[in-house]
Symmetry: C2
Subunit: 429 residues, 2 copies
């Protein structure tokens, strides 16, 4: 049977697997983790609005009835394009790396945050991407309020009550908005010596506006919504340093300024999964600055039609020799994953398939309670309506009926009580 | 205003605080964690049935409207009974320990698992008590199945698919039953090389029957239910060694036997919180073998009527100079906490209050899907009816309407699908 190996159980890889499982194929899905993570809601785990198990779904459970689908927990170490074999490190002690042979490879390794060459910042400014990093951020945010309650030094307290989010893309905007709501609503009345509402929440962005993926008028609306929540957007500010005490920013032409902030959260700049580099090296190709490999208009690796690569780790060429401008969003990866499945099926039937075409259904970003912006094919949404659309879309795409119900209940409860039920300070186990 | 300091936000301390908050008192609640943990369901976090945020409730949120209640996150370091002051270590860097003065002290520090003097076993046989330990156990259980899928060595696989639970009290019985259900139902069809249903689940107990807190006929029913789930109860077996490869047991008069088991879970033997020892030392009293201090029939520390101690860390004297036989269960701690509140209120009104009297409403233990035992004042319940009673009682006592709804949905989903939605392998952050 034709062997399809899919690397990555994120949005792209999962769609490919789901749309291939009923085909006469021998499918192997390789992922480091035993669950599919619904990335767009991970920031809500970081703010205690949701619990980890509510935004993740066990991969094995999805395919338990598909005897032709095998799930392998591990990380791709080596790619041998000529022999069509991957070496997968399983992380099990004393276990040799696994050799996984393929006839078709679907590579969907995704991306992770980069620190612009300053990996040392990671220790002081955690990202919000994995569940573990989200729990670390949750602990840092909640612990800062706890420490502010205990200190009697005003400068110390000011630093503890200053939260800086770096990067004003959707995740940064959402994080900043949620921290503002925690400070002003959730923690109201929780402390006796300190007033969380006096917190400063800074949203630092190099570009001249927030949400650069949206039209300018919506960026302006989002900025207004952020300000009304108590967030200070610092656009046109580059981060030039981060240490345990705060963040150093530089506005164009101005002197560097050190802002005391004990909690700094990183939401800027992504780099492609190392898998992209491995594919590129093996195929004799280059990667771009963000580590992405460029694939053909039909998502295949140049010179290797049996390798399909997609999602955040690739750039897709157009027919004129240029690059398609596709945003690094879940809908792109999902459509690419479904296209990959179609391509494999078409080949089984010896049919041709034209190039991948992204259908842009629109772009949504939430800022806070009843505040969001949306750009649906030029139709601009704002306020409550945009927010309800955001809620509905995210519930719809969440994997698992149970997760949808649980998240729905959490959201209703948060809306009514302004509380955040999962705001626990937990430690590494 | 009269200052009441409550140490411990578990079942006992929380009840005391909730029943005192509307009195003209200045209340301080000290706990190491920022949440109340619903201990009886923590084992379900360890088996992926529930997510951590669903069995915990933020303490500050409970008291946000009570301006007279202050929550302090920290651990009691020193107790000075003569000056009536506690020293509390807050865990904040560069922050001096806090001095907390009291007029009445309510000490409810609870208990933790002891390893019968073999602390070195802890590394190989984690307990299920804190959320962190539950997540560690969850990872170990799920990882064992993953490793079994990858190994080709039959002996290695046998060790990976053997799970030993030490201690057949309610927690041990519940853990063993849940692991059996994971192996036989939840993971059915999840693997291609290994059959989780072939797992061995051992429940090791020194006594001659499981659930010694129940009448013998119910112990026998519980054993039958365990066996029908696929658990092997090894009663009359003492554990004499635990290492990374397995557990050594000794039956009366027999040779020690080493059982290869890569996953060993500890659910035997509790020791009182160190707070009991600190109180005893300060008052010139002795503790018993389990580290508990003995209090008067009205729960006060002998010689110190201003100190009330309760829950798992105490033994309560009766009027005849003996000790009341109270089990280490949540209902006992809760009733004692409410009694403590009543005692404080009675003193405010200059009224006397007689001794604490435990009202035994019964005892329930669940074993698995539709299997439980109950002893309600001599009325024995078994099977589905006992199980439904167990579910209802636990939902009822869970703190927070939201948590109740979330847990209810998880349970319904687990019952229908036999799945466990939160079975994620996560790592220390």
């Amino acid at each position: 049977m034709h062997r399809v190996v899919i690397v990555g159980g994120g949005f792209g890889g999962l769609q490919a697997a789901l749309h291939l499982r009923d085909a006469p194929l021998d499918i192997t899905l390789v992922d480091r983790r035993n669950f599919h993570l619904f990335q767009p809601l991970v920031y809500q785990v970081a703010t205690g609005a949701l619990s980890p198990g509510e935004v993740a779904f066990p991969l094995r459970a999805l395919f338990k009835k598909d005897a032709n689908v095998r799930v392998v927990l591990g990380e791709v170490d080596e790619v041998d394009l000529s022999r069509r074999v991957l070496t997968v490190v399983t992380g099990v002690e004393n276990h040799d790396p696994m050799r996984v042979e393929y006839d078709t490879l679907i590579a969907a390794g995704g991306s992770h945050y980069s620190y612009f060459g300053h990996e040392e910042w990671r220790a002081f400014a955690p990202e919000v991407k994995s569940l573990e990093s989200a729990l670390l951020v949750r602990r840092r945010i909640l612990q800062a309020f706890e420490e502010a309650e205990l200190t009697s030094d005003p400068a110390d307290r000011a630093g503890l009550l200053t939260f800086a989010v770096v990067g004003a893309g959707p995740t940064g905007v959402e994080m900043a908005g949620q921290i503002a709501e925690i400070a002003r609503d959730t923690l109201r009345g929780n402390y006796r010596n300190t007033d969380p509402a006096q917190s400063r929440i800074l949203l630092i962005e190099m570009a001249d506006r927030v949400l650069t993926g949206f039209p300018e008028t919506l960026s302006a609306k989002a900025s207004d919504a952020l300000r009304s929540l108590g967030v200070t957007p610092l656009t046109g500010h580059a981060v030039t340093g981060i240490d345990p005490d705060g963040v150093t920013v530089e506005a164009d032409g101005a002197e560097p300024e050190k802002i005391p902030a004990r909690t700094v959260i990183w939401a800027a700049g992504v780099t492609a999964s190392e898998l992209a580099g491995k594919l590129a090296t093996a195929a004799g190709l280059e990667t771009d600055k963000a580590g992405r490999v460029t694939v053909e208009p039909d998502l295949t690796l140049p010179g290797h039609p049996e390798v399909i690569a997609l999602g955040d780790m690739v750039r897709v060429a157009d027919r004129e020799g240029g690059i398609q401008a596709l945003p690094g969003l879940a809908p792109v990866a999902m459509q690419e994953g479904r296209f990959a499945a179609k391509l494999v099926r078409a080949r089984l039937d010896h049919k041709p398939l034209p190039r991948f075409h992204y259908v842009d259904k629109g772009n949504l970003a939430t800022i806070g309670r009843a505040r969001a912006v949306g750009d649906l094919k030029g139709v601009h949404l704002t306020g409550l309506f945009a927010w309800l659309t955001w809620l509905f879309v995210h519930l719809f795409y969440l994997v698992g009926v149970q997760n949808r119900l649980l998240v729905f209940i959490r959201w209703v409860a948060s809306f009514v009580t302004r509380g955040r039920g999962a705001r626990l300070i937990t430690y590494a186990d």
